[in-house]
Symmetry: C2
């Protein structure tokens, strides 16, 4: 039986860890963070395989115009979440909108994948498992003892395609991350999935029925404009907010992991952006004009401005409108404090 | 014989060490750096003693409008230098413009004096020496082994008023500065002077005749507008450029120093500005809006902007138009590199 692949781009994130560049209507996925294109548009390109169906984009109402503008040439379907209900809510909407035998390839729209060919090959491997009703998560092969991600422990091999998931590991302390890296058989949970819509529907009905039923009702009562399908607000608002990991994956018996090494980054902090940015010979990366005097390892994002650094090392200077953020790159996780205070 | 005191405000400086706030037409003396008023206007207030004549301001042509605007209520005379010829050139112009028996009280217009009463008392003491044709320099009583200033060694006492200058000491290395501070009898050369115009004219004719004759000719051929007297360009351009210290004081026999402790600062760097700024309990000082998270000892100058500091210590963030300067306060002297590169 033919099982078409439908890419589903989750585009509802706010990305406050990249404040002040990312905020409000101009969320992280719509920014050009590493040169060339916005993360959303890069994701559209990645999802534009001739063998795939046109993508479905799930986003908030405030982003419809920007999604339409940035998606020029890709012609995606837009499905609007009336409120944010985390990844389980968004995926439930996509499942409700899809035929049961469609394979949904779910991906965040604010990540970077440098090796698209490795990604496509992993999808091809995962397809065999998804056809067999495994919910497949793509596990990123770790290259460092990262404490900011969840990990997936691989269990029994499923042919050449991947492994049954033995268990999920929450963001670990440093020592545990180092132990997992040394042991092998662990990968990072990147939030990229492939599954048959019908298999996920059944899993949701079992593990998180309130979410699925709310999404199903919201889609049934959706209204349509020329630009997007708008899920029904009151119906969808009844759904509890939960991540797909907690709501389904950690409870479900038939979850597989397909390990992949594809130059992936979630660009989850200014430090991560600096790690992927094109740097000069002193390790400085700049969007805008930079004068650096005895300064190295800095990330400057100040379009239309000129930043002068004198004797600075490993700091971020991020300018957006009237907001200027200055912090050591190593403190990138603490940007939330400023984002919360300054909005 | 009556010897009126004529304040002379030297207002021709550029102040590039406070780049980017200080540059071009908006030089350091016209900035409000410590709250309240511009440094120039504070200097006008300091020079507005009932016993003094109205002040003479010596400035460049590009600053006439700003001087007029900031001097509102003080009604100074303006004497415009067609080109900059350092302090000796500016003082020679003031001497050429004054009657020989006028006492000229020369002062930079970009310094801070917190104790104006101590300043006035020092001028009263200096007056006795100046009437006796001493060229008097006011010596700032040092409170730290500063390596950024020249020092004055006091010689024989001249009654209760001051001392004959034994010698001038160039900006010293740290060890020498510490030795002078420990020994006593040294003061900082702050560039504030009192002398009889005729005495300085005679000294200049002896030590730097080319400067004085050029200034005299430039004043004789000056043109007058309702706003200012413009010294003649070609005549003044013939003057060599030199500081009054090199051109006269270090060569002249009859130079006195009147020590004074008056809360003086030349605000010669962003570090010096931070030292005088009103700081909050964590040592941060801000002109503009500041959100500081685990940050201390920082100087922020960003009028109309909002600066967020996360985990930063002892840095300056200076915003002016499209220019943003970030540097450790301890590197303040190196701002010239940026000023030179960015203008």
């Amino acid at each position: 039986m033919h099982r078409p692949i439908q890419p589903v781009l989750l585009c509802g994130g706010a990305g406050t860890r990249l404040w002040p560049a990312s905020r409000g209507a101009r969320a992280k996925q719509f920014l050009d963070l590493v040169g060339g294109d916005s993360l959303f548009r890069r994701t559209l390109k990645r999802a534009a395989d001739g063998a795939f169906l046109p993508p479905l984009v799930i986003c908030g109402a405030e982003h419809v115009a920007l999604v339409r503008a940035q998606a020029e040439g890709f012609d995606p379907k837009l499905l609007v979440e009336p409120v944010a209900r985390n990844t389980a809510g968004a995926i439930a909407l996509a499942v409700a909108a899809a035929g049961p035998d469609t394979l949904l390839l779910v991906m965040p729209s604010d990540h970077i994948v440098e090796d698209v060919s490795a990604f496509r090959q992993a999808v091809a491997r995962a397809q065999m498992l998804a056809r067999d009703d495994w919910i497949v998560t793509f596990g990123i092969t770790p290259d460092r003892p990262e404490t900011g991600f969840g990990y997936i422990a691989s269990g029994a091999a499923l042919g050449d395609a991947g492994f049954a998931v033995e268990r999920f590991v929450e963001k670990p302390p440093r020592a545990k991350a180092e132990a997992m890296l040394a042991a092998g058989g662990y990968s990072w949970n990147a939030g990229i999935f492939l599954f048959r819509a019908g298999a996920m529907r059944d899993a949701m009905r079992e593990h998180c029925p309130a979410i699925y039923l709310a999404a199903e009702a919201a889609f049934a009562a959706a209204s349509e404009s020329p630009h997007a399908i708008y899920a029904d607000g009151p119906s969808f608002a009844a759904a509890p907010s939960d991540s797909i990991d907690y709501a389904v994956l950690e409870k479900h018996a038939r979850v597989a992991v397909v390990p992949v090494s594809m130059g992936w980054s979630d660009l989850g902090s200014w430090e991560a952006v600096h790690a992927l940015a094109r740097c000069d010979e002193t390790g400085n990366a700049c969007d805008g004009e930079l004068f650096a005097h005895e300064s190295r390892g800095c990330l400057v994002r100040a379009p239309g401005k000129r930043v002068s650094l004198v004797g600075m090392e490993d700091v971020a200077v991020i300018v957006d409108g009237d907001d200027i953020l200055v912090m050591p790159l190593a403190r990138s996780q603490d940007v939330r404090a400023a984002a919360k205070a300054c909005g």
